[in-house]
């Protein structure tokens, strides 16, 4: 993508004013998407993201610059301007560049980029027909497929021998959203969005018909759902995408970008109990072909299975190079970025609460009065205070150990430190769900995950008054 000799020149220019680490990230990504509305191709797009990001560290300081002009003049100018932020004398001269091998964990033979768009359209038409077949009140079905193929190259140096790393990331995601219209003008939606770092066969073998029907069923169900009650209740959260609560309330505050500057509720928590003893949690970027997986991170560090919480005790953070320096910790393969336009930092990959011992059905049976959340729309957290909010897109009332009537407009609010301690049942059915997570280094694909679990008490916001 850029020549080794140019990389060498640029790295040395970067390090001319006393920087102790320099990197060049070169990216060329092809994005393809096609979207159907009610079974007809509404739009499609093919685009290319292309550019270079250069970063120079000097102890705890970082300078970053990017450009889509990858000529020698442009890159040398950029390196020069960035280096001008430091005023020291050269500590490192890069003499050579050695290529580092990457063991690709996401092996793919049938690349999505090679699949004729007509095949993708055919699959989307099937999804549409399934969703439409559920109920005549399904008035609109949006079905789309998007995939990206990113080739990137990293040159980085901390000493006289720089590394060159070449990597490819491929991902695809299917979206089906159904819109239901009620007689009174009420409109509700339901959706599914499975994704993976995998080939076309995975999508073909996926039970996309059942998933499409489910999207429509939820939309229909929400048409007649009553308003969610408000108050403090036990809440049972389903496996898979339910883990978004953990992602927000606990995952973000465990990123070194928050803990290194003591700006997280968990900054001083290593070795301390931060969750119920039933909770063990990992961030694992190494699961082959998963949505959030990668062979190496944006700094060229191999991804790991990092244990964050073991039996309720905080055991580690997600650590990138820069924040690791503040913490005195080694980077652990969690440094990520959306594209060359973002300086990379510690982020989650596939983050999940590990399986416990309970039978998920028994957890519901043992709950007298509460809320069952089967799907979340999303949520956000303030890492400093740990306060979070989540909105459920599919929820039910639990009465006498049974899942009863659906409710809509359900929001869960609380603080991460409290809710983790209040987890009193953990099921044995761990699963993952796909999402896109936004933070300072842009949007990155992440898996969230958990088994079915119960929070003994959490504030539920809704407009349906008190639960009786």
């Amino acid at each position: 993508m850029i020549s080794k000799s140019l990389a060498l020149k640029v790295l040395n220019e970067c390090l001319s004013t006393g920087g102790d680490y320099a990197e060049i990230y070169v990216e060329e990504t092809t994005n393809q998407s096609v979207e159907l509305e009610n079974g007809k191709v509404n739009s499609s797009n093919e685009s290319k993201t292309y550019g270079v990001g250069i970063r120079i560290l000097n102890e705890f300081k970082s300078v970053y610059g990017y450009t889509s002009d990858t000529t020698q003049t442009s890159l040398m100018n950029l390196a020069h301007s960035l280096a001008a932020s430091y005023s020291g004398i050269r500590k490192i001269t890069v003499e050579k560049i050695a290529k580092k091998r990457v063991n690709n964990i996401n092996k793919i033979d049938d690349h999505l980029i090679d699949v004729p768009v007509e095949e993708k359209i055919a699959l989307l038409k099937e999804c549409t027909a399934e969703a439409q077949s559920v109920d005549p009140r399904i008035v609109r079905v949006m079905a789309s497929f998007g995939n990206s193929h990113r080739n990137w190259e990293l040159f980085n140096a901390e000493g006289p021998v720089a590394s060159q790393i070449v990597n490819t990331e491929e991902r695809g995601r299917l979206y089906v959203a159904a819109l239901a219209a009620g007689e009174d003008g009420k409109i509700e939606t339901g959706g599914v969005a499975p994704g993976r770092s995998d080939g076309w066969h995975w999508f073909k073998e996926l039970d996309y018909k059942a998933k499409s029907r489910r999207a429509a069923e939820v939309a229909i169900q929400n048409l007649s759902a009553g308003e969610c009650p408000s108050g403090v209740y036990p809440v049972v959260i389903t496996n898979g995408w339910g883990g978004v609560l953990f992602h927000e309330a606990c995952g973000h505050p465990l990123e070194a970008s928050a803990t290194a500057k003591k700006q997280s509720v968990f900054s001083e928590s290593i070795g301390k109990q931060i969750a119920s003893k039933l909770v063990t949690a990992y961030d694992d970027g190494t699961i082959p072909n998963e949505w959030g997986s990668n062979s190496i991170d944006s700094e060229g560090v191999k991804t790991h299975k990092n244990c964050l919480i073991k039996n309720g005790i905080c055991t580690g953070f997600m650590v990138d190079r820069l924040n690791g320096r503040r913490l005195g910790m080694e980077p652990n393969g969690t440094c990520r970025r959306e594209s060359y336009k973002y300086a990379p930092t510690s982020r989650m990959s596939n983050t999940y609460i590990a399986a416990g011992k309970d039978d998920p059905e028994q957890i519901v049976k043992d709950t007298k009065l509460g809320i069952y959340v089967n799907n979340f729309g999303g949520g956000s957290v303030n890492p400093m205070t740990g306060e979070f909010n989540f909105s459920a897109s599919e929820a039910y009332i639990i009465r006498d150990g049974k899942i009863c009537e659906p409710v809509r407009g359900c929001t869960l609010i609380g603080s991460g430190s409290e809710v983790l301690m209040n987890i009193d049942r953990v099921g044995n059915d761990v699963d993952l769900g796909q999402g896109n997570c936004g933070a300072s280094s842009g949007m990155v694909p992440v898996n969230v995950g958990q088994p079915t679990l119960r929070i003994s008490a959490i504030t539920v916001g809704g407009r349906g008054g008190k639960l009786e």
Binding site: E28, S33, V34, E35, V41, N42, S43, S44, N45, E46, S47, K48, T49, Y50, G51, K61, S62, V63, Y64, G65, T67, S68, D69, S74, L78, S81, L82, S85, V117, V139, R140, I187, T189, S230, K261, Q263, A343, F376, G377, G378, G379, S380, T385, E387, F388, F390, S391, S393, G409, C410, T411, I413, G414, T459, V460, G461, G462, R463, G465, K466
Partner: protein
């Protein structure tokens, strides 16, 4: 860039009409942390979008890889995407408007001010925030960013348009500690000129905002007269504006379908789009090259127009309102500088008659808590109680819920505290007769 060459190549490939959009941006930014310059960022970026009509269907592509093969990639993308399009109707490229209200809002002074001055400005801001009150424990970050953008549109009908703008954003995160309680707040200032940055006001907002959160508690669940701070009202109003987009209406997924010319909100509600206001959101043409105009959207509670691009305008037999936007290969709709008319009373005067109410200063999670179609929403909120006409104890971990359209029919008053928010909405604080607050 040899634009003519692109049009030639397009024609030779059977593309009957086409448009090329070139967007360039340059940024400079830095972060201050604990008294020193911790991060510095610069960028120089370009993106080229192309769209064209092949056999009556629209195709689109984009790239950042300029140089050899760039035009070929774009044309190949147009051909491929147009071929599979099943969109009804004959696509076309807008030739150009008769008149454009061009203005120069680019401020050369901003870039002339040396970066060292801006860094010193941020460093002294940090010092003064820390000195404001003994409970201020930390300035979590100060971020400064300056951006310069140039956008150009060319089409095969001979249209050439160019717009250049720049702006700065200053952001400070502030934390305060009282015993073992930590509270956080942030403040943002932005504009085309540094003279619009008022340091004293910035510090006061940042610090008073965080200190006032101490002792915050939930309140009893119930219905209260509710004041929404201008920034909160803007976040919610954003969904209302979205419902006026013609595409949503034509699909039947907007609550406002069939409501044109009817009363849909309190007579106190007046909403206009003023894209020609010379602020950081100024623009005089949309992504299709249609001239932008200021216009009423809601007048005394009556819905006056939907927002159109050329495609949706054709369906309704009207002219585009200059709201076209190309996004991800399709023609969508956007808006800028939405102006919601405020009132004459001050904030204190507006809340004086409230015996027991709630003042919401911040909300989170509206993105997932809002059903944009029905207008039902529920989100986490923070704010204060209003008792006997005065702002009293702070509130946290409460939920605010209601229905957007119902809310706009239950407006009691606006104050005169108009603010331009980063969501491109200008509005003041608003008092709603009654809203649901979830708490204890």
């Amino acid at each position: 860039m040899k634009v003519a060459k692109f049009f030639e190549l397009a024609k030779a490939n059977g593309i009957s009409e086409c448009q090329l959009t070139v967007s360039q941006s340059k940024t400079t930014g830095f972060q201050i942390f604990h008294g020193s310059l911790e991060g510095f960022e610069i960028s120089d970026d370009i993106s080229i979008k192309a769209c064209g009509v092949v056999n009556g269907k629209l195709g689109a592509s984009s790239t950042q890889k300029v140089g050899k093969g760039c035009f070929e990639f774009l044309i190949d993308g147009i051909l491929k995407t147009a071929k599979i399009s099943e969109k009804e109707g004959e696509a076309s490229i807008f030739p150009g408007s008769k008149k454009y209200h061009k203005k120069n809002v680019y401020n050369p002074e901003l870039v002339k001010t040396p970066i060292e001055d801006k860094i010193n400005m941020a460093l002294s801001l940090e010092k003064e925030i820390l000195a404001y009150d003994s409970r201020i424990s930390e300035v979590t970050v100060i971020q400064y960013e300056e951006k310069e953008t140039v956008s150009e549109i060319y089409n095969s009908h001979g249209l050439k348009l160019k717009d250049k703008g720049n702006y700065f954003i200053m952001y400070a995160g502030v934390a305060a500690k009282d015993g073992d309680k930590v509270k956080e707040n942030y403040e943002i200032s932005y504009g085309t000129s540094l003279s619009s940055y008022n340091k004293d006001e910035f510090i006061k907002n940042a610090c008073d905002g965080v200190i006032s959160k101490f002792g915050a508690d939930s309140c009893n669940s119930g219905k209260y007269p509710t004041v929404l701070k201008n920034s909160v009202f803007a976040s919610i109003a954003n969904y209302f504006i979205h419902s006026t987009i013609a595409e949503e209406v034509q699909r039947g997924s907007s609550f406002l379908a069939g409501k044109l010319g009817t009363k849909i909100a309190s007579t106190k509600i007046n909403i206009a789009e003023k894209p020609l206001l010379p602020n950081i959101f100024f623009s005089y043409f949309d992504d299709e090259g249609v001239a932008k105009e200021n216009k009423d959207i809601v007048k005394n509670g009556v819905l006056k127009t939907y927002l159109y691009n050329t495609e949706t305008a054709k369906i309704d037999g009207v002219e585009s309102t200059g709201n076209g936007r190309y996004a991800g290969g399709r023609l969508a709709t956007s808006f800028s500088n939405i102006y919601i008319k405020g009132g004459k009373a001050t904030f204190d005067e507006m809340i004086a008659p409230i015996n027991e109410g709630v003042y919401i200063t911040d909300i989170q999670g509206l993105g997932t808590g809002m059903n944009a179609r029905s207008g039902d929403f529920s989100c986490q909120a923070q704010g204060f109680m209003i008792e006997n006409g005065k702002v009293t104890k702070p509130l946290t971990l409460i939920t605010l819920s209601g229905n957007l359209f119902k809310m706009l029919n239950e407006v009691t008053a606006f104050d005169n505290n108009e603010k331009l928010t980063l969501s491109s909405i200008i509005c003041s604080d608003i008092l709603i007769k009654s809203m649901s607050i979830g708490g204890k």
